[in-house]
């Protein structure tokens, strides 16, 4: 597939690996804040191959994993209602709430359906005027324009049986929180290529200069990740801390202006809780008051549904990159993708699941010591 498979070329990948090893004079600690990049890194064994010169810490880049427990519980409540068709992206269905997950609600008779695009949910509402259709609008800035368009379109077409349960989060406040932490070890970042396709990279420039960390906007295929790592390490070796763009085929400095405009017209910045981490101020998006009719939280009076997250939690440590998944005592034992204790084990982009599904072998081999 054009513009995709050529970025998986093994020969060029090994060239980049050698380049990174050649330019590094010491071991550097980098973080990616994007589930898709985590997926590629662990699936390809990139961190294994570079382990002597780069330590990759996996940041909270999986929107599925960071959706607050409270929002999950609200989703479960809505999905259990007889008058509701609850629609969602696939990866949300196995995320555990306080008592169960969407699959279990479905087993008990709830009408829960997976959609590929939020516009499919609007279409479903159009074709089922006697039911309420709710769409679980999660994601980072990459998905916000799509969700915004669904809300806008529903209003425009007069589809008044459609609403969204919003749980959007944004990346820069999370990176700031990580950089502000007193025990932060991250020296450079790979910025998420599709988040930046929408937002551009101007928001990252003040971060790079204030905290003196290089930030490289990076794509998702193995060659992209390796090139992004190479560019970051090169900056670190040269003592620079700038924002650079590796993902030139998709990202421009100003981002996608029409997308930003519609997101701004439909959403507003709010404080958001990140599961396992806590509230990060101004790190989320919520619907503007003029879209109250499309806001499931207002339509269905969900205020009464609250969930408390524990103050101390290892899933949070993994999400913040403080510990590696296999350093959690439950990893692979009480907590597996099949019986997850926490959200990072559920989504295949979660660091724990990625390690369990892809990387477990290396840890076991290392422990076994052949």
């Amino acid at each position: 597939m054009k513009y995709l498979t050529e970025y998986r070329d093994p020969k060029l990948a090994r060239t980049l690996v050698r380049r990174i090893q050649a330019v590094a004079t010491r071991r550097w600690t980098l973080m990616e804040v994007c589930g898709g990049q985590t997926h590629t890194i662990v699936r390809q064994g990139i961190n294994e191959v570079l382990s002597d010169v780069v330590e990759m810490i996996h940041g909270p880049g999986c929107p599925v994993c960071v959706t607050p427990l409270e929002q999950i519980d609200r989703a479960l409540h809505l999905a259990g209602r007889e008058d509701v068709i609850f629609t969602s992206f696939g990866d949300m269905l196995r995320v555990p709430g306080s008592e169960c997950d969407l699959f279990q609600v479905r087993a008990r008779g709830g009408d829960v359906r997976i959609v590929y695009s939020p516009l499919d949910a609007v279409e479903l509402a159009r074709r089922n005027p006697d039911r309420e259709v709710v769409f679980f609008a999660v994601g980072f800035e990459t998905t916000a324009p799509a969700n915004a368009m669904a809300v806008w379109r529903a209003r425009e077409l007069g589809v008044d049986n459609f609403s969204v349960l919003v749980s959007h989060v944004t990346v820069p406040p999370a990176m700031t929180a990580i950089l502000d932490a007193p025990d932060n070890r991250v020296q450079g970042f790979l910025a998420a290529g599709h988040v930046c396709t929408i937002m551009g990279w101007t928001e990252y420039e003040p971060l790079a200069s204030r905290y003196r960390v290089p930030i490289v906007v990076t794509g998702f295929e193995p060659l992209d990740i390796l090139e992004g790592i190479w560019m970051t390490v090169r900056q670190l070796e040269e003592g620079r801390h700038e924002v650079e763009n590796q993902y030139v085929r998709s990202v421009r400095r100003e981002g996608n202006t029409p997308a930003q405009e519609l997101v701004e017209g439909v959403f507003q910045v709010v404080d958001r809780g990140w599961r396992g981490i806590g509230v990060i101020p101004s790190s989320g998006l919520g619907l503007r008051p003029e879209f109250a009719a499309q806001d499931a939280e207002k339509k269905f009076a969900l205020d009464g549904i609250r969930a408390a997250e524990p103050a101390a939690c290892l899933a949070g440590d993994v999400l913040r990159g403080r510990i590696k998944p296999f350093e959690c005592p439950a990893f692979g034992r009480q907590c597996t993708p099949e019986r997850p204790l926490g959200a990072p084990m559920v989504s295949t982009e979660g660091a724990c699941a990625a390690y369990h599904n892809f990387g477990r072998f290396r840890q076991e081999a290392a422990a076994g010591g052949d």
Binding site: V17, Q44, G45, D91, P96, E99, C313, E349, G359
Partner: protein
């Protein structure tokens, strides 16, 4: 913390993860996916009640003695929706699925039974097309449907139609492919490109259109097994058809039943471009997508090329390829060597693979 004292688990360090364990008291869709949930369902609820020495090996079928001969019995139920899809219909699956299970055990399929559960309101036109497909497939496979049953249930209770077929077949002396025969050094061979059936179904459900249409690969694999048996005999150590749960599940089942490890090479597993495209779009891994006309074979290393040549003589296996090796290390685990030079574990999934947005 009150929300977490019931069901919350305390870890060694005293911290509690945000989500309590979900105890499952009901059947979920994931239990039918062929992954870990399916395996657990069998182990915890079915085997303790039905366990016996014929069932325990949990092969594609069971070998049972009848009047001094050994025959193989296998059963399978077909619940696919939609009933008709590019490349076939539920009738084709119902014949090919059971015929293939018998063939994977080394048997020549001879007789089938067919039980039908029809939904009130199913059109006769559709029913006829499906029955015609079954007749055609059975004739081509040289099997006879010798007994059957038909029931009708209320509207809404059967997705159009459910079919169960049970088959019997005769074993050949000296040909008993099974996981116990797999040895380190064996070649892992796949008979064809993967992911076609699962993506054909998903395409109908999701509304994709195709340039090069993704068609289900539903096919009778007994002739290619017979060819392997005739030319290679006991050098064919194990066979399995890769159905629900995909190639990954079939390989894992064999690895854990035989106690060997496997190493696959990225890039050697054939995936048709449209299947790859559809999988990329949804974030699915072709290794886990269902097939209905693909088998994996573990054969002695010295006959690997010959096995591929034999397979490639048949249209259903024209793209057969060696995709890896059986190894002594990491017993029970299937590992993929990545293009970058790293390794990844190819494990079974807990339930169905889910489309993702990340």
């Amino acid at each position: 913390m009150a929300a977490f004292t019931e069901g919350g688990r305390s870890l060694a360090s005293g911290a509690v993860c945000p989500a309590p364990r979900n105890d499952q008291e009901r059947v979920q869709l994931g239990h039918g996916s062929g992954g870990k949930m399916s395996a657990r369902l069998l182990e915890e609820r079915f085997l303790p009640r039905f366990g016996n020495r014929h069932l325990s090996p949990l092969g594609d079928g069971a070998v049972v003695p009848v009047s001094g001969e050994e025959i193989v019995i296998s059963t399978d139920s077909f619940v696919v929706s939609p009933l008709e899809f590019p490349g076939g219909n539920i009738g084709h699956l119902a014949v090919h699925g059971t015929v293939n299970d018998l063939a994977m055990m080394g048997a020549d399929p001879t007789y089938l039974s067919a039980g039908f559960i029809l939904e009130e309101g199913l059109s006769f036109e559709v029913l006829d097309r499906i029955l015609d497909a079954m007749t055609e497939a059975a004739d081509a496979a040289g099997v006879a449907v010798v007994t059957g049953d038909t029931k009708v249930v209320d509207r809404g209770k059967a997705d159009g139609m459910f079919i169960n077929t049970t088959g019997v077949g005769m074993l050949h002396a000296g040909f008993r492919p099974n996981p116990q025969g797999v040895c380190p050094g064996d070649a892992v061979v796949v008979s064809g490109p993967i992911g076609r059936h699962g993506m054909a179904i998903m395409a109908v459900r999701e509304g994709f259109a195709f340039d090069a249409e993704i068609r289900s690969d539903s096919a009778n694999l007994a002739p290619v097994v017979a060819a392997l048996r005739r030319d290679l005999g006991g050098a064919v150590h194990c066979l399995r058809d890769a159905t629900r749960g995909g190639l990954a599940s079939a390989l894992n089942e064999i690895a854990s039943a035989s106690g060997v490890g496997m190493e696959l090479e990225d890039g050697r597993v054939p995936v048709p471009e449209p299947v790859a495209g559809a999988c990329e779009m949804l974030g699915l891994d072709p290794l886990y997508v269902a097939n209905e006309g693909v088998l994996v074979a573990m054969v002695a290393a010295e006959v690997a090329q010959k096995a591929v040549d034999i397979l490639r003589n048949h249209p259903v296996a024209a793209e057969a390829a060696v995709i890896g090796t059986v190894v002594e290390s990491h017993p029970g685990m299937v590992v993929l060597l990545t293009g970058v030079g790293g390794t990844r574990v190819v494990d079974t999934l807990p339930g169905d693979q889910l489309p993702r947005i990340c």
